[in-house]
């Protein structure tokens, strides 16, 4: 996952449509180990099933930890994370969450169930 995945674009994105109608969850909480550091905006995730280690944005960890507790829609995730985002970036949050979820899904770390 590249660093360019952050809150950099204000334009509405087709990703959003593909993610809002789904319930997102981690593949299995017991399957993933996460290491993150307060002084780093990147983190690593280890997948015990595939044996792969992934370098991801630490902001994606927030999403992983959120849906690790219980599956959530992109909208619900945005609502939960809104407090962590500055007022200026609020309008970019849905797109960021959608893009991040799709990338986490490509890495095999999360799954989506249609609702």
């Amino acid at each position: 996952m590249s660093r360019g995945d952050g809150l950099g674009c204000a334009v509405a994105h087709p990703f959003i449509e593909r993610t809002v109608l789904a319930l997102w969850s981690t593949v299995s909480p017991a399957r993933l180990s996460i290491a993150s550091w307060d002084d780093d905006d990147l983190a690593v995730v280890y997948d015990k099933v595939t044996g792969d280690t992934h370098l991801i944005e630490s902001s994606a960890i927030e999403i992983l930890r959120l849906i690790e507790k219980s599956p959530a829609s992109a909208e619900a995730i945005a609502h939960e994370l809104a407090d962590l985002i500055s007022a200026d970036d609020q309008d970019k949050l849905p797109q960021f969450i959608s893009a991040t979820l799709l990338q986490l899904r490509d890495l095999g770390l999360v799954t989506d169930t249609p609702v």
């Binding site: 180990s33 290491a35 993150s36 550091w37 002084d39 780093d40 905006d41 990147l42 983190a43 690593v44 280890y46 015990k48 044996g51 280690t53 370098l55 630490s58």
Partner: protein
């Protein structure tokens, strides 16, 4: 008994008979060879290492034999064998010692899963240790040799043995492999440094091995806890820049530079996480060993 206490003729006999048991703490390697120059190179590079009695358990049984037949006389070649099985392509006899070193590296990297084996140099001074993990070409060995020549203890130039449970790092204090221009750079920096004769035309260019200091070999059983992880980055003409480096990126580099990270599974992930947790991570861009010495001394004195 130390290698330096064994007459050269006896060392050659032990090699021919396969009775040379070289203590490469924490391992023992049984070395056999019929290459005459190998005894000289071993005597020169491993002078301060112990040899063990023939009945001691050997972790690795390695052989460097000259090819038989016509190849014994025309462009003679030598081959490295592990447990009697030829393991690599033959190389010119002149490269026999380098082949032994590379072969021993492979033995350790491929079989020592009680450790996370990281491709990294490790040095220590005043109880504080630096791990220098890096891909080839980053200037790791040159930097390591330059600092060791100026008083840092050598644990490892190639293979850091990271004990998963304790987080302690062992090295074998084996010779440092210098390549191409690095050979003359270290000769100028430390005219008294003991090196093998440069061997040209290897797969890595011209190489020479540098003998570790007596004190490094004497302290080979002392592991270290890493204080810093520094990623060397040689850039011609660059001023010295020691910049904080992302812990997550450092993690990924350590994993990539480990020979058995995948084999270790969850334990490997936890071990690298713990290593990155407890250290400060930097990238060091440099072009001069004088600069490097100054920067690392500042690091040691907490002036960074």
């Amino acid at each position: 008994m130390k290698i330096s206490e064994v007459p050269l003729a006896e060392l050659a006999r032990l090699l021919r008979c396969g009775d040379l048991l070289l203590r490469l703490t924490p391992f023992v390697a049984r070395v056999a060879s019929d290459v005459p120059s190998l005894a000289q190179d071993i005597a020169l590079m491993y002078a301060d290492f112990d040899i063990c009695p023939p009945n001691v358990f050997a972790d690795f049984h390695v052989q460097v034999w000259r090819d038989s037949g016509v190849r014994r006389w025309i462009k003679p070649q030598a081959r490295f064998s592990f447990d009697g099985q030829p393991s690599f392509t033959g190389l010119p006899v002149a490269q026999a010692f380098a082949m032994l070193e590379w072969g021993l590296n492979w033995c350790v990297a491929a079989h020592s899963h009680q450790y996370l084996v990281i491709h990294a140099a490790v040095i220590e001074k005043n109880g504080k240790a630096v791990v220098l993990p890096a891909p080839p070409g980053s200037g790791k060995s040159t930097l390591c040799a330059g600092l060791v020549m100026k008083g840092w203890r050598l644990l490892s130039d190639e293979l850091a043995l990271y004990e998963l449970q304790s987080g302690l790092i062992y090295g074998m204090a084996r010779p440092i492999s210098l390549k191409n221009q690095s050979i003359d750079i270290i000769k100028r920096l430390a005219p008294d440094a003991v090196m093998t004769a440069p061997v040209p035309d290897t797969t890595k260019g011209t190489i020479a091995l540098l003998r570790p200091s007596v004190s490094s070999v004497m302290r080979v059983k002392e592991p270290v806890q890493a204080t810093w992880i520094v990623l060397p980055n040689y850039v011609h003409g660059s001023p010295p820049i020691l910049a904080p480096h992302s812990r997550a990126r450092t993690f990924m580099l350590l994993a990539e530079q480990s020979f058995n990270y995948d084999t270790q599974g969850q334990n490997g992930f936890d071990a690298v996480t713990a290593l990155v947790d407890r250290t400060q991570c930097y990238q060091f861009t440099y072009s001069s060993l004088d600069d490097a010495q100054r920067v690392f001394d500042n690091l040691l004195q907490g002036q960074v």
